[in-house]
Each structure stands twice: as structure tokens, then as C-alpha cells.
Amino acid sequence: MLKANQPDGFDCPGCAWGDPEHGSSFEFCENGVKAVAWESTERRATPAFFARHTVSELRGWSDYDLENVGRLTHPMRYDAATDRYVAVDWADAFAEIGAELRKLNSPNEAEFYTSGRASNEAAFLYQLFARSFGTNNFPDCSNMCHEASGVGLIASIGIGKGTVLLEDFHHADAIFVIGQNPATNHPRMLGDLRKASMRGARVAVLNPIRERGLEKFADPQDKIEMLRGGATSIATHYFQPKLGGDMAAIRGVAKIVFARDDLEKAAGRPSLLDEEFIARHTHGIETWRAEVIATPWGHIEDQSGLTYDEIETLADVYLGAERVIATWAMGVTQHKHSVATVREIANLLFLRGHVGREGAGLCPVRGHSNVQGDRTVGINENAPGWFLDNLDKEFGIASPRTPGHNVLHAIHAMVEGRSKAFIGLGGNFARATPDTPVVEAALRACRLTVQIATKPNLGHMAVGEVAYLLPCLGRTEIERNSKGKVQIVTVEDSMSMVHGSGGINKPASPHLKSEVAIIAGMAAEAVGSQVIDWAAMADDNDLIRDRLSRVIPGFEDYNVRVRKPRGFWLRNSATEREWRTPSGRAEFSAAPLPVEVEHQSARKTEGQFVLQTFRSHDQYNTTVYGLDDRYRGVYGERRVVFINPQDIAAMGAEPNARVDVLGSSEDGRARVAEDFRIVAYDIPRGCVAGYYPELNAVVPFNKAGEGSDTPLSKSTLVTFRQRSGA
């Protein structure tokens, strides 16, 4: 009876991994518990707190300390005279924000940033607000993470999303985990990898860093295992390519597959390739094959950082499997050649028909819980024509057709003074983006900054001339509309499942509004309510979903289907082998390997390394839950840099010495992140690693992935300066 009558589910505000038991996943995952606890804190950032501290003072606090102040309780406006945030009425806030937006010379002077935490309803209303206002400027957190996956997959399979469902992991014989550390970033994925490993599937990991949590995993649900202190091996094969070496590694695998296939056919045996799939469903194999054959082994080994034998083992895993899944994350997507790498992974899977059938497929694993959904519902600076046409028809507006700004475009526009207003729907733009001091200065130069948030963060201290900090309900909190009806929101996970989610806790303050209500309040003042009844939509998420369902195919009967257990699946054309590419087929990419990647160019200069930034275990994106990183043996600190012991010796340094990290200054900007402790670690020579956001200060904003504009957060050239007395 209880199960049959459970109300709407609850979607963990943490990662975007699929959820087999919708409504209960958060307690199964260390990170999920942290995310819920973080939002449910008893601490409060009240007006009294802001009265005690100037914004200039708070700017000197750490990310951890500032967010640890607790939940925002009141809408706040920055008062330049006292350099403090002071409480303000919601109505006054909306009125001034609307007035400031209307005063801009052009709607394109405003940037509408979205965090992946925003629900489908909030994101849909937000894009409607911006487009009815007159701009397509949608810098989005996905621009900094999986943009290369979207771009690459659209070119290869005609849709920018992964092709696997959670159930496919139950049937795969081999799973390639590339440039990804699920132990810290998607812990629930480890459970599925563990099950696969236990039933005999091979799990081949490519990760420059030896991640202990990815090698072995103690399932929190297996109490006996936990009590015994035991753990199951996750990775059956673990390889450590150099940073940016994944494409070369995959190319090497393909080179061996082609060579072995030639031998089989020469011996009169059947092809190792899925020739029927290739002939019927793909285009361009011959060009790619020629490119692969022409790529010398010396180039492949040097660029990948793997030996021929290691790559041959990977090929054995690939050829030994009937069903192969490839997953990847930021280790693949935050390089200059990320789009080409994503496409190389797709190429490899095409060879044996591993797309569009059970137990096989492509799986970019998204970070924040609704980063994929936000894009689906229109957070896209260059949305397809059909979407804009449908939106215009449904709402009676004329959406702009000129492409808008992504994150890097937005930073450039603000730096150059072309954009004068920034609205942040969640997130921490200034700390998530490269070149932190540059971005903070750009925000401070804006006429208007509006930050919608649950807690204060350092980004909120980069205040524009007119600045608001607007507190919203978190996803864990129960939302009721004006009639007392409980509201749910919806999100889309990495497997394109759309779930409903209702809150589970009382709101942190009676003054909080939902993100939807805040967006509607600003929109009503900025563009008026003559054409769009913002207040009505703000009061009923069902109404937003009804209208969204008439704009975006796949959301039919949205309000009914999203209330079913596990929600519903958004159809993915590629899983049915329908290829929405210009050729109507899956497209092999024939991109050459880069002549050199950063680790190869770094070694030309003594003392130069390639840096990757990543999260600690006590961290989710820019949110720092604590100061430990237990899998890597770091406790109570974050200013560390992981370096190969031989490189430490070659530098003439000692482990635990303190150094400053220096980024590229070829554009005349000095990039320095000060005072980091050297930690000797199992990482390839020439490659180093450390945490963001602290190290974002050395990641240049004017270098980006080709075709994706993704910051090069996994391939930044750095040198070290030993600190005096260290």
C-alpha cells in the first residue's frame, strides 16, 4: 500500500547518473548525501551576517568558508556606499532589475547564464524570458564540460546525447571508461561498473591518474563488504595515458583492429568488423581507415603515452566483446582536440556495430543533475530553427534568430564592455570559468549583476554597479503554490530519462521563492505580461510543462508520464539507428591526430608541464563540502599539486615543498596561483594535476577546444616557482 501510494519521487541534486530506484537514490551515494546535507544545513546567511561583513572582506574568504555560512534567507541588494548586501523586497528587486534590463542599448548586452542544477521548468521559462526579451545569449555550464560531446556526437550520430540506458550496463561485455573518475564524480556509476565487473565484463579504464576509488570500490549497500573493509575490483584493465592522449590511444586500437581484420580476411575467415552495419548505416570509413593506417605507431605511442603492448591489450578487450559501451567525461572533453576525440571514440564503436543495440553504445556521463535537460528545453545560444518556430507559435513572440553567446563569448563580451548585464541562474560563474581574476573583473564592470542562489559564494562578491543576490528554494525543499498545491520539477539524466522530483524538506526561510517564480518576476518587469502570463506559469509548474510539451517533441503527455515511476525516456534517434546527419548515416570522422598535444609541446621547455584541474572527493563542481580528498590521501587542505616523483626530483624540489603555479602569459596577462604544496603522485611524467576552482586562475580564457569552445582545463601549460623559504 505504501509503495503504491508514494507521492512524486525525489531526484538527487548531485550528479546526472541514471536512477534505477527513483525516489531513493541519494542515500545510496556518498556524494548524494553530501549534496542533500549541504542544502539542508541549519546555518543561515541572514541580513545580519551581511551587515557584519563588507563584500570586499568576503571576497577574501575561501570558497568553502563562504558557502559554509549557510542558506540565504532574504533577497539582497548590493549597497555601494557601505559595500554591503542589504535586504530588499522582492517587488522592488524585480522592478529595478526589469528597469535596468530595459535601459540596455540592446537585449544582446545581457547574458543569461544557467547552471546545470536548474530544473526543466526553470530553464524553459528562463530561455523564454531571454528570447522574449530579445537575445540568444545563453552561456551555460555545459559549455565548460560536455560541449565537445554534443558537438562531436551530433556530427557522428546526429544527436548530441548518449545512446545507452542504465539497463545496457547490465548486458555489456566490455566498458571503456575514458577520462573519467566516477569514484568522486558519479559514485552511483561505480555500483553499475562493479556489478558488470562481478559478472565477468571487462572494465578498461583510461585515466592519467591512478585513482584508487576507481580501481576498487566498497559498495555502501553491501554491509558485509563494508564491515570487512573489503572492496571489489572495478577496473579489470587500468591504463594511464598522458593528458590529451586518449585520441591517440583509440586510434592505436583502431589500427590494430584494422590490421587483425586484414589478416582474418586474408586467411579466408569472416571479417572482425560488422560489415553489414558499416555498409548499411555508416559513411566515410575508407577515408578514416586510410588516415588510421597512415598514422605512424611512433606518433600514436608518443602522443598517447601508452606502449604498443598496452594499446594491444585494449584492442583485445575491444575485439573480445560482443557488446561494448564507451563512457567518458571531462578528461576527454576539456582539450583542444576534444571534438575529434569524441568522434574517434564513436568511430571505434561503429567498426563492430556497437551503437543502437542492447548492451552497447556511447555514454558521455554528465556532471550536474540537469545539465542535459537544460539544453533539451532550450538553453542553447544557437537553438535549431524548429525549436524557435515552435516557441514563437506557442507564445506569440518573435525569438531572435541571431546566435548568441556561449560562456567564452560571454566572457569576451563582458571583458570588452559589449555586455553590461549578467544574470546567473544558479552556479558560480566567476569561479567555474577560466582566468578567475579576469572574469571577476568583467562581472564587476557590468552595470547589472543578478545571482539566483541558495548560498553565498565567491562569484556573488563580484558585484556589478547594481547587484542582486536572490535566494531560491533548493531542490530538496517542498514548494507549494498560492493554492497550497505541492509543486514538482523535472530533470533529465545522462540516459535521457526525465524524472519528476518533489522536495523533502521544509524551506530554509519563508522568504525564499522558487527559481521559476524569480524568473517570472524579473520577466514580468522586463518584458511585461501582455503577451505571456508569467504569473500564471510561476504559480503552476504543470502549466509550464503543458506549454513545453507543445514546443518540444518527445514531451507529449508530460504531466502524466513524469509522474510515473522512473518518469519517461526521451527518444534518442541513434539508439534506433536513425541517423540525423547530412548523409543520413552515422559519420566516420577522418580527423588526423594532432601534430602534438600539450604534453608534447610542454617538454620542449624545461620545467614546463601540462596541468589538469579536477575535483577533490569533498567537492561538487565549485561547491566545496570539505577539505579532504581521501582517495588521494589529502586531508584538511586544497592547495596541492600532484606531480610525478621523478618530475619533482628533476625540478630540484622535494615532496611537500611549496610552489606557485604559473600559467601562460603570452597574451600579456600574468597568471599565477600562489602557494601550493607538492604531492608526489602516480601520474605520468610531464603531467600535473590540482583542484579547481583554485587553479582556474592559470587556465586561459582565450584558448578553447576546436569546435566546442570548451576551456582547456585538462591541458593548460604551467611552470612552477618555488616559494622562498620553501
Binding site: L2, P7, G9, F10, G23, S24, G502, I504
Partner: protein
């Protein structure tokens, strides 16, 4: 009538009389009868997600139930009946 049937009958009765969701009523009865006095145990006993037990507790807090403590790590809420809640059990439930 089995013990389980009797429990469910009391849940139904309280759900109806107090205008509660079945899960909320089950939580009240569980606390009142000592079956489970915290959200995590309730979830385990009845096979429902902890999140949903927390939601039920949040809905009832200050009405029929009150939280005596909440774990900062797991969010487990330890619960007891308020006076209004205790009245449903003859005012003696907390001693059980």
C-alpha cells in the same frame, strides 16, 4: 486479523481522520507504536526511499510529529509524537 493488517488498518484510519497521505499516516503510526522512530529505520522497515520518509516527516513536523535530532551526515531524523500526535494513541504513545 494479522499484525500487519491491523497496522495498515490503523494507518488507513489515521490517514482518513487526519487527512494525511498514506506514507505520512504510516510514519505517525510507526512512531506512535514504536515500529520505527526515525526516518531511516522507517524507510528500511517499509522498503521506501529515505527521501520519501524525510518528506513525510517534514510534512508532519510541528503537527503530529517533532524531530528530536537530525543527523548532519545522513539526514536521519529521530522523531517523537507531539501532544496532538500522542492524543491519537490515547496520549500514552511516547512511553511505549
Amino acid at each position: 486479523m494479522s499484525e500487519a493488517d491491523a497496522f495498515l488498518a490503523r494507518v488507513e484510519a489515521i490517514a482518513e481522520s487526519q487527512n494525511l497521505q498514506p506514507l505520512e499516516a504510516a510514519l505517525v503510526v510507526s512512531v506512535g507504536e514504536g515500529v520505527a522512530r526515525d526516518t531511516m529505520s522507517f524507510g528500511r522497515v517499509f522498503g521506501v526511499g529515505h527521501a520519501l520518509a524525510l518528506r513525510a516527516a517534514a510534512a508532519l513536523e510541528g503537527g503530529l510529529l517533532r524531530a528530536t535530532s537530525t543527523s548532519a551526515k545522513s539526514r536521519r531524523m529521530r522523531l517523537e509524537l507531539t501532544e496532538a500526535g500522542a492524543a491519537l494513541f490515547g496520549g500514552t504513545a511516547q512511553a511505549a
